[in-house]
Symmetry: C3
Subunit: 335 residues, 3 copies
């Protein structure tokens, strides 16, 4: 998925050789190839540069399509012929350097085409609408809310007060309550010789129709792809949704629930309050996660899980009851 130029600004195009110079890499293969895009390894195309950190075997089986790839020397031989190699010690860090040279996040106040606001939309006093944004029919933007450049807001959608939205496409009949933060940078960090370094996030947020998003809830934009909330899903206050998360339709999420990066949630999943889901997991359709569930593995469709770490809810309840009985039996705990 190419970087969306409504939200980011393309600064420069590089040859593989120039990227090598920029990042201190040694290059292999076609060093004159023009690179104009950035992407994750599994999505990169011939004009993109990606990075790979892992084992030779994983790289070899990957069907990499990228035009160039930052890799460590030990795995470079596994790159396919179509991919120029950029050999460095810290591929992820080098990719960050390249990406920062190629693209910029548009500032909230970047100049550009004027915003397009439908005559029937209501923009409250103090609301800020960025360049190139589009506000649909009968949409309402509350006082002091901030809509970033290029953001699309659908018809009959309502944004509360003091909310902010950037790098996002918002559907119709969506209700976003006050103080929600949509499209902020996901939490990406890598190490460098100087210490921790932010990994910029080049993706977007997609909110489908009839979604509700509670007060002060945060939905981060994707790293390279999109964070998606499916139709009619309802999200309570103070929820955190990480980058690249994909949430299905009719999902309910109560307060303080947090979903870590790149996890997917099937249609109709129900979550009680304070559910936590680790990264890169799949929650099957119709699953129920009870309040406080701390999910560390995939959850099969239709199952009810609870506890920390989460497991089948009945097993969890049995464990709770059994432990209580053991300790109550003799008033003195056994030695």
């Amino acid at each position: 998925m190419p970087v969306d130029l409504r939200f980011f600004r393309a600064k420069e195009t590089f040859t593989v050789e120039q990227l090598a110079k920029l990042t201190g890499a040694t290059c292999t293969g076609d060093t004159d190839r023009l690179i104009s895009g950035i992407a994750a390894a599994d999505q990169a195309r011939s004009g993109d540069v990606c990075f790979f950190e892992g084992k030779t075997s994983a790289l070899a089986t990957m069907d990499l399509q990228a035009g160039a790839c930052f890799v460590t020397a030990d795995v470079a031989e596994a790159l396919p012929d179509r991919t120029s190699g950029l050999i460095v010690e810290q591929p992820r860090l080098a990719h960050v350097m390249a990406a920062n040279a190629m693209f910029d996040l548009r500032d909230w106040t970047d100049e550009g085409e004027p915003a397009s606001v439908h005559p029937t939309a209501k923009i409250a006093p103090g609301a800020y609408i960025g360049a190139g944004a589009a506000i649909g029919e009968r949409a309402v933007i509350g006082p002091n809310s901030v809509i970033g450049p290029g953001v699309q807001i659908g018809a009959d959608t309502s944004i509360g007060a003091n909310a902010s939205i950037r790098c996002a496409l918002i559907g119709n009949h969506v209700n976003i309550l006050s103080g929600a933060r949509i499209g902020e940078s996901g939490f990406g960090v890598t190490s460098s010789p100087e210490g921790a370094v932010d990994v910029p996030q080049w993706g977007r947020v997609i909110i489908q129709d009839h979604v509700m998003i509670g007060g002060n809830t945060c939905i981060d934009r994707g790293a390279f792809t999109d964070t998606i909330v499916g139709e009619r899903s309802k999200i309570d206050n103070l929820v955190q949704i990480g980058h690249n998360v994909v949430i299905g339709r009719n999902v309910l999420m109560a307060s303080f629930t947090g979903i870590s990066g790149s996890s997917t949630v099937g249609d109709g999943v129900l979550m009680g309050g304070r559910v936590g889901i680790a990264d890169h997991l799949e929650i099957g359709e119709g699953a129920v996660l009870t309040a406080d569930a701390g999910v560390m593995t995939n959850v099969p469709a239709g199952e009810t899980w609870g506890g920390r770490p989460a497991k089948n809810f009945r097993q969890f309840l049995r464990e709770v009851a059994w432990l209580q009985r053991q300790v109550k039996r003799g008033k003195k705990p056994s030695k």
Copy 2:
């Protein structure tokens, strides 16, 4: 409790027959009765329409006073004579449809009587004060905060920056820190043939004198009644208080605490960080809930509870210690 017209707008009054037509219901009893209000079943009066989902026996023992009630066909016979029946398959959904036809939440920027701001109050630049709001003596509204239409702010009360308040009555000497969200919609969802549907929330928030509310904390307005925070209660940052919650006096709540809908908290209750309380529970006066307590049942007055699910704190500590001892005893866990 009638819908407060300072915060909501009455659109139309209906006969029972008209409500039936609007929602696809079959009506019984007096079909010409005028319905001008909405309420929960236990609070509805003769001019109100409510809904009931449950068993015949529960309905029969309920002393229902409503003028009309959405019910399923199987329990309709248990309605008292004074209550017209509106027979539908999904009573709650039909009630949402009726309520949406009868009332609207006032927009942040709805026109009306000018706000009344005491000459000694300080309204910072960028603050928005809605129509009909009242700001008391020496009150301070911080920069870019938003006060909704009809909101009352007492004397010597201070609102930080970027906070928003709607559908709320705020007492004297209250301190609301930056980014707090008071009076947003509670989390109410019901199902429909199209999928999940928001249940609009018609109640208010009442904040009594000398209350402190931390940064980015959310206190939702009630569904039909009020969410109440009692005198001198002190609430930390990033706390969530659901609809219809009633909190007593001198209650302390640390960060990340969440109280689910319709629970009540007695005077002087102390909560450590990240306490969770399920819905419709009662926490007795003077109880102590230790950090991370996940409360799933009522807590008696004066007791100290902890753990997830929460129990008597000593029992919880004994279980923690006993389990640790079992596993440490033999380095190999028993099979």
Copy 3:
């Protein structure tokens, strides 16, 4: 550490005798001594008044340097000669009364020297910059953000939309995302005859260079000293950092993590989501706290801890596995 007059206003200076009169205390020692400052007992100097609640033996071994100290009658004899005694029943409450008479938090909109904004800085529409604030080279303040009086923002630092910052010194190359709340009052409460009373907070927040702070995260100012976030530490969305917390360099903190007052976190500590740390603890350099860890004791450097209450992560995992095995073994739980 003296109260920083960029953020607070000195109202009046008192003799010990006047403080006694103000608070209903009985004074001992030099009652004419001028008191112009407030501080915690371990940091107070000869011009400061502090308070002490505890045992005689603790006071006697404290090397108190304060000019005056609120104490209860039973421990007053342990005050050194250089410290005037202010004998009251509730020393902390009396100290609050004295502090409130001596200092005020500056309002967001307090008048004063005009802010100093570097010509290369970008201040977005709707942003509010308080008196005496300084905005560095190439810094960006997003739309509708609020910078309090006296706040210093370093070069190349970016503040998102709808964020607020007060009582804080922010370094260079810092990235603060939308809706973050920096420098709000810490959660301090004491009891009084009327009920719970807010303890005002007189410290600051220091954010060092290259720090990242996520959306809607809250970092409270210190009680008397500073809350500090060290260089290159990266903080996710919806995190809570309490007063006086000191965080080292290159610390990573995921969403919903909360650190209670006065705890310190060493360099390079990693925290998964929803980690909780109780107050006054030390987390050693390089420690890893896994998601959901509830830390109730100090954590040695380099160790990995998890669970609630947190312990060595392997022990935690063994306990989880052992308990599950016990309950699964016989399908009927043992009686």
